[in-house]
Subunit: 467 residues, 2 copies
């Protein structure tokens, strides 16, 4: 000991930087290691983590859940009407994104979108009428995720809306999503003007019946190979869908020409689909939902099966914790804002579209999509780093979705809540940004992180279930 | 001096490694620098290089030629029949790829393809008849490049074949290419069986008239923005064209639905176009030809305006040397061969498609296309390294074609013959590989390099023209 202090000190400091700073100030040398205690110092969380890491029941459950996720084979099998297709949908139900929320608590864009849906359904003729109806609680609000559904941003699905029907041909479970309206003024971003409602009606009356016929004619479209190909064409299939949308169009049109669809309708549908580079997004989400629902409800599994936001709260679900939500405040996204807007105008993070990251694409597959940074910010190197970092919190790689720039390694997939808490690495999410006021729409896009608090509480719940 | 040898030697050895090896053998230290004299030691070439580097006339000419290349705006303006559309085409002319070559000297795949074209035109009913006709010199063989044309692989264009018409709306020059038949048994790879001829006739009788109507309806398709978008979607637009082909289909189909084309024909055309991920290749080539012809014939310019191969010789043209070809033996490609084939079965490098590399895409834009390595070999890192290396031999970067993975830097473009000879870096070329025997077809694809000898002779010719 005496000997030690007689020599020049070479200090490695772990944790609080101030210790190292003091040494540096007095002319000494110190290397600072950025370490935090697991669970960020929270004793309960640290104990849960210690109990769960390498727990044989959790490991066994994860093997089952992860294998089901990997084996899932989502196929677009058709187009339906929400009321007749979605389990638990009633004549007066409106589905929304994220965890459950009461009408009086919804964020601006969800408020705008729900009002828009009420007018679209004809339950009210103007905004005031819609608000009165909603305040009287005559409309049931329910999360998409409670009905095997997912919807981007506000995620609004009302009874007469058309939905994609995606079946996991391996596990048999079915997932649904609404149709993508395009960018700009759109219901999902909270806009509800006449053009928005008119477009939704055209989608119901022309787009959906046309595509329904075409998909019936084709007999089903395997989504995983199409998504894998899109990853080789610069999509991350969350905020960049131009390749997947183009590939889908390539599948739809030759078949459409062999059906009896009205030629003028088909021309309008072709314009609409080719005019919207995000058209595939909702199908990507439904495919991811189908893959993750396949992995749900495996007792003791620490696999995250959903991350979803309602614009107020961010919630996650674990395979081992059934239908339970673990929620915390939804973060504001530090992104690229359209001219004239800033984060001060933004609603907190919103939408079910983070189901894509939960399934290993989106932010997790950014290495496939250097061009995405023009939309969400950062550099192509950041995009690669994000994919690489996510390998620290996932159960493995999905070899069905390979990333060319990483020598065709599979995308990191299957978020393990234990790894998230243990490493302090939060899942990365690419996302659109809605204005916080109802009725306005999209104001930007960016890269954000899932908040740690919901992972900590999910971890604690899983640990308790094993005691 | 005495002092120098009294100290331990730290040797930097330039050139022949044996000097350094001797020092290393005796226990000394030496760093070896891989340097070769300019022109690989050839005195004439070294003198030409010394005269041309920084020559004010060459510099001024290159500024003009390069600016014309950059400013070119290739637009697909229509579809025509070769005989009526291509300047200098006669009733008995067959165009081929690469520099000029006599019938008795053509390589196997060109032989097969020319025979196929004779049968397709109905000038003979079988292979023997076609051979007799060709041996009697009743058919004129002429290079595509002599007629503002380009054709991939054998590059065969006969009078009744349909051609793309691409106009440089900036410079006014027009370029042409034939239509892509798809992979497998195809005329351009030397196959000439019944299925090949039947397909060519269908392309003439159904595909071309249908697309002609559609393009007339659209009024022209700007190719540069479409190609730029394809580079952001993983194409290098030479051997990977799936994005560009998809984007083209997205443009064509909505318009087609507003024309009076026969619905059954349109369905067949849609199948054909969506069934061929290389459909855009010939349009990419015509666009590149239009850009480079804009830069041709600038006296004293050292810009390479064409690299093309006929399967026997590899030839290049310089802007400052008019119509002159500088040729050498065409190399055999060390690529990925289909099962059962090897380089022993391969025809030497073949086709006008290296016009893409000459224009800064293809191998020069490989950084945009990590997935191309699955087709041509190598790794994604190699692909990036190829794009970066090409900056050493080009006049600049084409900011119209940006490479996402290189932080959206423009693709290296405008090969300067001086830089090629000075650095010893040969242009990289991604290419398909044909069987050396007539009538078989494609047997692989790979990455190759243009042979240095034609650059040296072009350099000498340019130097002489300045004396």
């Amino acid at each position: 000991m005496t000997h030690l202090f007689g020599e020049p000190l070479e200090v490695v400091n772990i944790g609080l930087a101030s210790f190292a700073d003091n040494i540096l100030t007095t002319g000494g040398t110190a290397v600072q290691v950025d370490w935090r205690p697991p669970g960020n110092g929270n004793e309960d969380v640290a104990r849960s983590l210690a109990n769960l890491i390498a727990h044989p029941d959790v490991e066994a459950a994860n093997r089952i859940a992860y294998a089901r996720y990997l084996a899932a084979r989502p196929v677009l099998v058709g187009v339906g009407r929400a009321r007749e297709t979605i389990p638990g949908m009633t004549d007066r139900t409106i589905l929304h994104s994220g965890p459950p929320i009461a009408w009086e608590n919804v964020c601006g864009p969800v408020e705008g979108a729900v009002i828009g849906a009420v007018m679209y359904e004809g339950w009210a003729t103007d905004v005031a009428g819609a608000q009165a109806l909603l305040t009287s609680n005559e409309v049931t609000l329910s999360p998409c995720h409670h009905h095997a559904c997912v919807g981007p941003m506000a995620g609004i699905i009302s009874p007469s809306m058309p939905v994609w029907i995606v079946k996991n041909e391996e596990g048999g479970n079915i997932a649904f999503s609404n149709f993508n309206e395009g960018l700009g003024k759109a219901l999902r971003f909270g806009a509800n003007g006449e053009e928005v409602i008119d477009r939704l009606r055209w989608m119901r009356d022309v787009l959906a019946p046309t595509l329904a016929k075409v998909i019936d004619h084709i007999g089903g479209i395997e989504l995983k190979p199409l998504m894998a190909q899109a990853l080789h064409m610069g999509d991350e299939i969350h905020n960049r869908n131009v390749a997947a949308s183009s590939l889908l169009f390539r599948r739809l049109l030759p078949a459409a020409l062999r059906t009896d669809v009205n030629p003028a309708d088909l021309a309008a549908v072709a314009d609409f689909v080719t005019g919207n580079d995000h058209f595939f997004l909702n199908l990507s989400m439904a495919a991811c939902k189908a893959m993750l629902d396949a992995a749900a409800d495996v007792p003791h599994s620490s696999l995250v099966t959903a991350m979803a936001r309602n614009g107020v709260e961010f919630g996650i679900r674990l395979s081992g914790c059934g239908d339970q939500w673990f929620v915390t405040d939804s973060p504001v996204v530090d992104g690229l804002y359209f001219a004239g807007y800033s984060s001060a105008d933004a609603a907190p993070d919103l939408g079910d579209s983070s189901i894509t990251e939960t399934a290993g694409i989106g932010g997790f597959a950014m290495a496939a999509s250097p061009a995405i940074v023009q939309f969400v910010g950062g550099t192509p190197d950041d995009a690669i780093a994000n994919s690489e970092e996510m390998t620290n919190i996932t159960l493995g790689r999905n070899e069905a979705f390979t990333l060319p720039s990483l020598d065709f390694a599979g995308t990191p997939a299957g978020i393990d809540v234990r790894k998230v808490v243990d490493t302090g690495i939060a899942p990365v999410i690419n996302t659109g940004i809605a204005h916080k006021a109802p009725g306005i729409g999209q104001i930007g896009a960016g890269i954000t992180r899932a908040p740690m608090a919901c992972f900590s509480s999910a971890l604690n719940a899983l640990a308790q279930s094993l005691e």
